[in-house]
């Protein structure tokens, strides 16, 4: 499987184009071009491979055709609110492809190892065997983990409720150990590679399902980022299987990207990765809802909030997953345009874990033509709340809970939050006082400067547009 020097040169060029392309994503202005540059790299890599490799044309043409059709249909038809599901699917497909490639390599592992041995490259033979095992393990966990994540995000019936087996951690550890043992056996006895590989991939599949199955909706940003990283690592190990530099570089890039996003997501919840994957928030020690809210919650009507907004000089909107669920983003755009027209500055503050994946809210806002220079990160937004007349929270809860800052015994203590309570007035659009993912009451709702506007997100914002017009 030695590629030609020309192909190798093109592979190097492709790897450079991927790096250059990702660099374009560091600014919205250059991002479209960056993505195109990266796509050009991919085109070159595929063309170079078609040029030098010997393969079965029927299989290749059929696979490329079916894959292209499915890919185009998915990409064109997917709603922006469903982007987390889409990314979960794509993560899974990448991992799945790596598993299958390693499986094929396992089928011919003995012959390939003997060939390497007789050519005096024993080390290379072992490298391929180790890579086949790792690729199968990582790929299968990625594929099945991503399928479960997809099912949860799509809210398929069978994934509605999180469940876990008794002694789940022990079972996971045992499964992982068994996979590693089978992988080691594959390296020692390549004559059994096909069978050992199949058994290992099967156990790894179960592991992937069990790992993701117990993780709740609001922790999805972490899981998707982690699976993103795995899909890159799977590609890198495929590179070790076929001794190809470009796959290794590219896979490492994606792996690094996913790890960084995973860390950002964990930091934004002040939880360790291990806690997200194996722990869970303890519901203990939280004050009861009655103690926190008891007679102190003020509810407002659309007209009252409309008056506040009409008089405001600066409004910061804080979107949460609730905005996506009620499809309120178009109504939010109308409110934004109306207030801007009246001379009010409208900004959007996005918490890193708002929504179901990193940057989820920003995509929804961009879809309804909110300019990207109006979208602030948590660090940018927090100093501005003190000089803000109205902070409008739409469908967010835990990420604006001041207990995280002030109450060291709170389950979410230390989690960085958006300081909406520092604004002159906070208006929270929410259907009820029900708790967020952390399962704890939010003292913000009982604060002196907070008004609750109980309604469905979309209807509430539409009514506010009408009220501001009338004010």
């Amino acid at each position: 499987m030695q590629s030609s020097p020309i192909a190798n040169a093109i592979y190097l060029l492709a790897a450079l184009l991927f790096i250059w392309g990702i660099r374009g994503l560091t600014h919205p202005r250059t991002a479209v071009r960056g993505n195109l540059i990266s796509a050009l790299g991919m085109l070159l890599a595929i063309a170079a491979t078609l040029y030098w490799a010997q393969f079965n044309w029927w299989i290749v043409i059929a696979g490329l055709a079916v894959g292209t059709i499915v890919g185009v249909v998915l990409a064109v038809r997917i709603e922006m609110t469903a982007m987390p599901q889409m990314v979960a699917l794509l993560n899974g497909f990448g991992g799945g492809a790596s598993t299958l490639v390693a499986w094929i390599a396992a089928l011919t592992a003995l012959a390939d190892f003997n060939a390497a041995e007789s050519a005096g490259n024993v080390a290379e033979g072992y490298q391929a065997l180790i890579a086949i095992s790792l690729s199968g393990l990582i790929g299968a966990v990625t594929f099945w983990g991503s399928m479960v994540a997809f099912g949860k995000l799509q809210e398929l019936k069978m994934f509605r409720k999180e469940w876990s087996l008794p002694a789940q951690q022990l079972i996971n550890a045992a499964l992982l150990a068994a996979c590693l043992a089978l992988g080691a056996m594959l390296v020692i006895w390549p004559s059994w590679a096909g069978l050992l590989y199949f058994a290992m991939a099967l156990l790894a599949s179960v592991l992937g399902v069990l790992l993701v199955n117990r993780i709740g909706g609001a922790d999805m940003p972490v899981v998707i980022s982690l699976l993103n990283s795995y899909s890159g690592l799977a590609a890198a190990t495929t590179g070790f299987v076929i001794s190809n530099n470009m796959l290794i570089i590219t896979g490492a890039l994606v792996g690094a990207s996913g790890i960084i996003l995973t860390k950002i997501m964990c930091d934004a919840m002040n939880r360790s990765l291990a806690n997200v994957l194996f722990g869970g928030i303890e519901a203990a020690k939280a004050a009861s809802a009655d103690q926190v809210y008891g007679g102190k919650v003020k509810s407002a009507t659309a007209d009252e909030v409309g008056m506040l907004l009409a008089d405001a000089r600066r409004v910061i909107v804080v979107p949460g997953y609730g905005m996506a669920v009620s499809q309120a983003q178009h109504a939010v755009r109308d409110l934004y345009a109306l207030l801007e027209e009246r001379g009010t500055q409208v900004l959007f503050a996005v918490h890193p874990v708002a929504g179901r994946m990193p940057g989820h809210m920003n995509v929804l806002l961009a879809e309804v033509d909110i300019p990207y220079d109006r979208m602030l990160s948590m660090e940018e937004a927090n100093p501005l709340f003190q000089e803000t007349d109205v902070a409008l929270v739409i469908g967010a809860n835990d990420v604006v809970n001041p207990d995280a800052r002030e109450n060291p015994s709170s389950p979410i203590a230390g989690m960085p939050i958006l300081d909406v309570d520092k604004a002159r007035t906070v208006v929270v659009i929410k259907r009820s006082l029900s708790p967020g993912f952390a399962g704890i009451p939010n003292p913000l709702f009982a604060a002196d400067n907070c008004l609750m506007y109980f309604a469905d997100g979309k209807k509430a914002v539409l009514d506010l547009v009408g009220a501001v017009k009338a004010a």
């Binding site: 079916v66 990448g94 299958l100 290379e124 998707i224 530099n245 792996g255 990207s257 940057g359 300019p371």
Partner: protein, 91 residues
Amino acid sequence: MFIMLLTVFVLAIFVGFEIITKVPPTLHTPLMSGSNAISGITIVGALIVAHEHPGWLGGTLAFFAVTLATINVVGGYLVTHRMLGMFKRKG
């Protein structure tokens, strides 16, 4: 050979860390779908193992490997392009 490949792997991780920490939070979703499309590079592996005379099992596996990797590549780049086109400045 193995040491060289490992070196490349480690260096690439460092390059990745350097660039990706500079991507603003606003673009994290397109970053994921875009890097996802890039991880579809497994397609090169899938093409290489689609041997001329694969046997029924090898052939079936190769077909699905090429298909999944192609979905990853085509779907990933296209949806990223669609998303990025929505990010506009005021004016």
